[in-house]
Structure formats: structure tokens, C-alpha cells
Amino acid sequence: MLTGIWNSVAGYVIIEIKGKGLERFLNLAVHSGIEIWRVRRTGVATITARVSVEGFYALRTLVRGQNVHVCILEKRGLIMRLSRLRFRKVLLYGWAIVLALLVAASRRIWFIEVEGCDTVREAEVLAALDTMEVRIGSRRNAVPTSQLGGELMASDPRIAWAGARLDGVTLRVSLQEAEAIPQLPSGGQKTPVSIYAAKDGVITSITVYDGKAKVHVGDAVLAGQELITGVLRSDETHTLLTQARGEVMATVLYRFQATVGPTITKPVETGETRICARIGLFGWEFLSSGFAAEDAWENAREEPTFQYALTNCFLPFTAERIRLYELAERETSATQDELAQAALRKAERVMSETLSENARILSKESGTVWLEDGALQASILVTTEENIGEIKEIKEPHGEQD
């Protein structure tokens, strides 16, 4: 097998030997040390065989004086293929240049990937790398990946950890952003304060940063009740006060009501009508009143009387003839459903204006009730979870109750 591989690399030729005394010629060649293989009789006076390049040149000297003729049928081997390229110098030079460029290019960084960006933008990381002379096109061995992480951390306080590694021609930067420090509620006060309940509710969680909690999870508290006290110690000798800091989450129950009726304001047809034509072309619509260029009513009910569409072609075209009914806002009686919808909309509006942005709605129930005067009252019962703590100055220090 190794011999076959070597012959394929070094090259060999397939020859045809014609003449008389072929066996004698073969014996002569073999005893001369010429390597011949795959000898096969192909005709009465014809033999094909394979011989190495050196062996072929040696055969030519043996042919003299013998009654045989040797000719080459085929040349094989890597050397043979490459020898054909010796006349294609531009191709060879091109291969050499491409190979050199590949080798040169593989020594530089061509891609920078940043992972873990959330608050810190990728552009900021790339800009920081640029100040460290690390950019696309930089040499790979000039990038100190072991130090790059530390320098990135030092460049931006939002980065808790950073690491870099080279993956071929790609520089992969991994970031771990720092957790944001919770902003404590502070009014810039210098006097001792406590946290009181701004609303009634049931405590779900208490986080005390400074001060002393006066309630526990599960306690029902009333508005004005002290939740976190700034009085750390109070006795006959002296009192120790602080500015209470913390977050008290509680479930709060809200009830919003709205009454409408028995009449409501809604758009009603005035009786005026108008015929218009609408033409659509490439998604644009042109509305005309009759064939005159007049603006249609802004608030109008449309009723198509004729429609034509040609959309299955290169030119999407629609045309329709519509009757417009003028509408105007008027106080009028309404159906039960209309009253209910109007009352609920009003109650929802009150709810959205009252609830704070940080309140998380846990449940919401709505219902309607008919009043004696024919009006409809809608009620919405909402349960939220929100921070009910409110910072206030300590009114007077008092002793500990526990």
C-alpha cells in the first residue's frame, strides 16, 4: 500500500509494449532493476504495464537493439499534475499570493463579539476596546486577553466582571453587568424620619434598610400606622434616632364607581346624507363627494352601495360608491348595554387616574347596579400590590413598645 501511495505521489506511466519477444524484454528489464507492475497481455503482440518515471527512462535505453516498441498511454501521479502547471505561472503565483494572504489574515482579529450586554451597550464596549488599541485588524498576538477583562471592568463601573478570549480570528468578550444598587427613598432630609402607611392594606413583604420594623408580614395596617420606625432606642438617659429607610409592600383593595344615565351623549344621525366615491390604488385612497373635490364629513357612517376590486394583477385597484350619513353628538336615551359600557368606561378612567404606576393589579372584578332614577352605576373592585410606605418626620420620640 505504501508503495502504491508513493507511486501516486512520485508519478508513474502506463506504457504499451509492442513487438516480438515481449517476455524476453520483460526479463531483461526486471534483471536491470527496473520496477514494473500490473503487466497484462492486451493483444497477440501487445502488453500494457506500469513503470515509474525513472524506470521508463531506463527502459528507453533497453529498447535499442530489441524488437519492441514502447509508447506511453497515460501519465499519472501528483508530480505529473503539477508539472502541467509549470506553464501557468500566473496561476501558481496567484495560489502563492492567496496562501500568503490567508496566512497573514489568520494572524489578525477580524470579528469582535460581545456577550452579556444589557444596560451597557455593545458600542460602548467596542469604544472602550478601541482606546486599548484593540479593534478589527489588530494583530492577535498583540491583544493581551488576560488583561483585557480587568481593563474593561476598570473602564465602566456598570461592569462587574469581564473576560476575553480569542477564538480563531474572533475576539469574544463576555460581560457580567453589576446589579443596580436599590435607590432608597430619601427626600434629602437631615431630620430623623419614620415610614408610615399611606393606605390601608395587608403586609406582604418588608425590607428594612435602616430603622426598625414595627409590623410583620401578614399584618393588616391602617393608613397612618407606623411601619418602620426611626426610633432605635429611647430611655430616660437619651434617645437614639435615625432616618428610617425601607420598602413595605402590601395588598390594597380599591373600589371605583361611576354612574351614567338615564341619558347619554352619543353620535346620532342628523338625517343628512351624501353620495361619495372612493378609489383605492396601491393602498392609497381618494374620497370624493360625487365628482366634486369636496371634503367628506369627519364623523359619518358609511354604507357602501357599490364595490369593485381588481387585486389579482400588477395594478391593485378598488372602487366603491358609498352613502355617508352625518352624525352629531347628542344627548339621547340609550339601551341597557350602551349604559353599561359607558359606566364601565367611566369607572375604568377613574381607576387608571387613581392607581399609581407601581401598583401591580392582582385581581379585578366589575359589576353594574340599576338605580331608582333609571341611571346605571358601575363598580370595579381592584386588588393591587404596591409600596404603601410614606416617609414622615418623627412627631415625638417614644419608648419601645415591644
Partner: protein, 94 residues
């Protein structure tokens, strides 16, 4: 006894005593048959005939005739010959 025969017998005795392969000392042909597809002949003395259905070799024991179909000499050297094809038989010509 002629000197030549005496030398041959002496050589065989030496080979047997030293556990040397007999064909290496005596020059007798050694045939190694692989199934019915290939045969290795060692210690031949030259190619006598090479055809598609028959190959004849000079050996120390006479002319060796190998018959078959589609015979090809995969390897041909001064002392070794490797013939492949559909072998039918090998015999010494009288």
C-alpha cells in the same frame, strides 16, 4: 556422487540444522496461493510466457504453468512474481 549433488545435500543438511528456510538455501520456487484470486511465486528464474489465460515461469524445478482467466502480473521482479486473476491451476510441465 557429483560435486554438485554433494553440495546440494550439504546445503540442505546445513539448512535443516540451522532451521533456515529451505527455499532460501536451495533456490527452489515457493508458491503462496491466496484463495483463487492471487498467487505469489518466489525464487523464479524468469518469465517464459505471459498471456491472459496462462503464465509460464522458469524455476529450479522446471517450467511452472499457471492457468486462469484475466491474469495480470501485479508485481514482477527478479525473484518474485505476484499474479492475480481467476486462477484455475498451477502445474509443472513435464
Amino acid at each position: 556422487m557429483s560435486n554438485k549433488k554433494r553440495k546440494i545435500r550439504l546445503g540442505r543438511r546445513v539448512a535443516e540444522a540451522l532451521d533456515l528456510p529451505a527455499e532460501a538455501v536451495s533456490g527452489m520456487p515457493k508458491l503462496t496461493l491466496q484463495g483463487r484470486e492471487a498467487m505469489l511465486v518466489e525464487n523464479h528464474k524468469g518469465l517464459f510466457e505471459c498471456g491472459e489465460n496462462v503464465v509460464r515461469l522458469h524455476t529450479a524445478c522446471g517450467i511452472l504453468r499457471i492457468t486462469g482467466e484475466g491474469l495480470t502480473l501485479l508485481e514482477l521482479s527478479a525473484e518474485r512474481l505476484y499474479v492475480a486473476g481467476k486462477l484455475c491451476g498451477a502445474e509443472y510441465e513435464p
